[in-house]
């Protein structure tokens, strides 16, 4: 119908324009930027492979990648274990069940900026809540954000606290799909509660775990506001994240070409890591 074609084109035209301007153009232009030296003030100049060579040799970039892996090494297991434990606790008849779920979920809806500022207060060495609690237990003040060895783990704990409620809900949905008969069958075989969890529940929650790991990983590579507000990337650049470094290159150093190169590199690293994770979790299924 000609009228239908016309309506379809008309209704989708704004979206098409949007995609061209804010999706397809930036994707294409990101590759062009890699080849440019551009400070947004003077006209861009062709830089060849300078940006890529710089990237390969850039200690800060590699430090940021290492930092992200340190973050993930703590954040991923913590996220999975805490989310599973909380979801498992909630997956039963409970008093105030929706209250517990809502409590765990609360940090998820709060802006990352607000949560980060709240945690800057929790982590503050002298007036912070955590050191206040530790003092009651006669434990010395811990320099949470100023000790190079502790800062990134501290950020990982905070990120876990912020996001875990979301994964609790995802695991809860998964747990509700585990048929009761599976538990009964293995209990008749003489399995303990732990064995039932280990051999029935856990394997059946594989899709949820994959989702939790995937989303947490993407989150980890997007780390920005946390180091930006809490540590500025320090101490000793141990909390510098790729996005923070990219932001500085664009905003502070006016190096658009190099910032875009960082973005492209980050996108590739994310893709590779996600594919590897999928392989590992997938092969765990077969064994």
């Amino acid at each position: 119908m000609r009228a239908e074609s016309r309506s379809g084109l008309l209704l989708s035209a704004p979206y098409t324009a949007f995609l061209l301007l804010f999706a397809l153009f930036p994707i294409g232009f990101s590759v062009v930027l890699v080849l440019l030296k551009w400070d947004l003030v003077t006209p861009p100049s062709f830089a060849g492979l300078d940006n890529l060579q710089h990237l390969v040799a850039d200690a800060r970039f590699w430090q940021a990648i290492v930092n992200t892996f340190v973050f993930l090494a703590i954040h991923l297991p913590l996220q999975v274990i805490v989310a599973l434990a909380l979801a498992w606790s909630l997956n039963r008849p409970l008093l105030l069940r929706s209250f517990w779920r809502a409590a765990f979920f609360l940090p998820v809806v709060i802006s990352g900026a607000a949560v980060t500022i709240l945690w800057s207060a929790l982590y503050a060495t002298d007036v912070g809540l955590i050191n206040g609690v530790l003092a009651r237990l006669d434990l010395g003040p811990v320099p949470w954000l100023t000790d190079p060895a502790i800062a990134m783990p501290a950020i990982a704990v905070m990120a876990t606290w912020k996001n875990v409620g979301f994964y609790v809900v995802i695991y809860l949905a998964g747990l509700q799909n585990v048929p009761q008969s599976c538990h009964e069958a293995i209990e008749l075989e003489g399995a303990t509660g732990w064995q039932s969890f280990r051999h029935v529940t856990l394997p059946l929650l594989k899709p949820q775990t994959l989702l939790v790991v995937t989303l947490s990983t993407i989150n980890g590579f997007q780390l920005f506001i946390e180091p930006y507000v809490l540590t500025g990337g320090g101490p000793l650049r141990r909390t510098l994240s790729v996005v923070l470094y990219m932001y500085r290159n664009a905003f502070s150093y006016q190096k658009m070409g190099y910032a875009a190169t960082l973005g492209l590199a980050l996108a590739l690293v994310i893709a590779v890591v996600l594919v590897l994770q999928r392989r590992v979790i997938g092969s765990a299924e077969e064994s």
Binding site: G8, L19, A113, S120, I225
Partner: protein, 270 residues
Amino acid sequence: MRRAVFYVVLGLAAVAFLYPFLWMAATTFKSPAEVGGLSLIPDQPTLENYRLMWARAPFGRALINSLFVATTITVSVLVFGSAAAYALARLRFPGRGILNTVTVAVLLVPAQLTLIPTYTLIVELGWIDSYAALIAPYVFNAMAILILRQFFLQVPRSLMDSARLDGMGELRILFTVFWPLAKAPLATVGILTFMGAWNEVLWPLLVVRDEQLMTLPQLLTVFSLGGGAGPRQLAPKLAAAMVLVVPVVAAYTFLQRYFIESMASTGIKG
């Protein structure tokens, strides 16, 4: 007995999630001498921290900016997004297949890849320090279009046919037949979009430098970066954070079921 222990452990877990917020709220009413104490009830309650933060930075203006930006984006994503989703789901037109494919493909591209090119685009358009810079890149959302399209595909064809025989045009069919049926996905998209826009901080930090145009999370971030972490600075910062947190917590208290279901249903965070 085991049950009692279980509830105690669960209660401690909940305290770990709720107590920091309560402590934050309490701290904003404390005098510098009290800041850092664990108590939730200030000995000498004071509004000094709020006065300070309100005086030092335009938080009122930021609140209005944030409301305006998030509302505009949400309305646009719902109205124009559902029009696009409707066309993609129910109208045959040249290019529909490509548009559907691109919509899915765009979701697979990490935001970091497009951040800098989009920023240079905004600079070249001369949109730095404008509402346009804050709003334009978000007026459509591929995820929202997919959610709505998926729902629109399930509306029976006969309802559309019937509406056409009744003499309705496409826009009227969308808004008087499809929208009333799509309350749930529209609410999901609305909540996700508003939360995403309300909480966004990296993008405003890039494209807005004028304090008068800053969004709330942005101004809060900029504000908190100044000054040290001593008791005199800490409480006003937390007071500023309260301006950002309180509206969300209020909405969350009444609509928590929708918040949780919306966010979990898509497997995507706002």
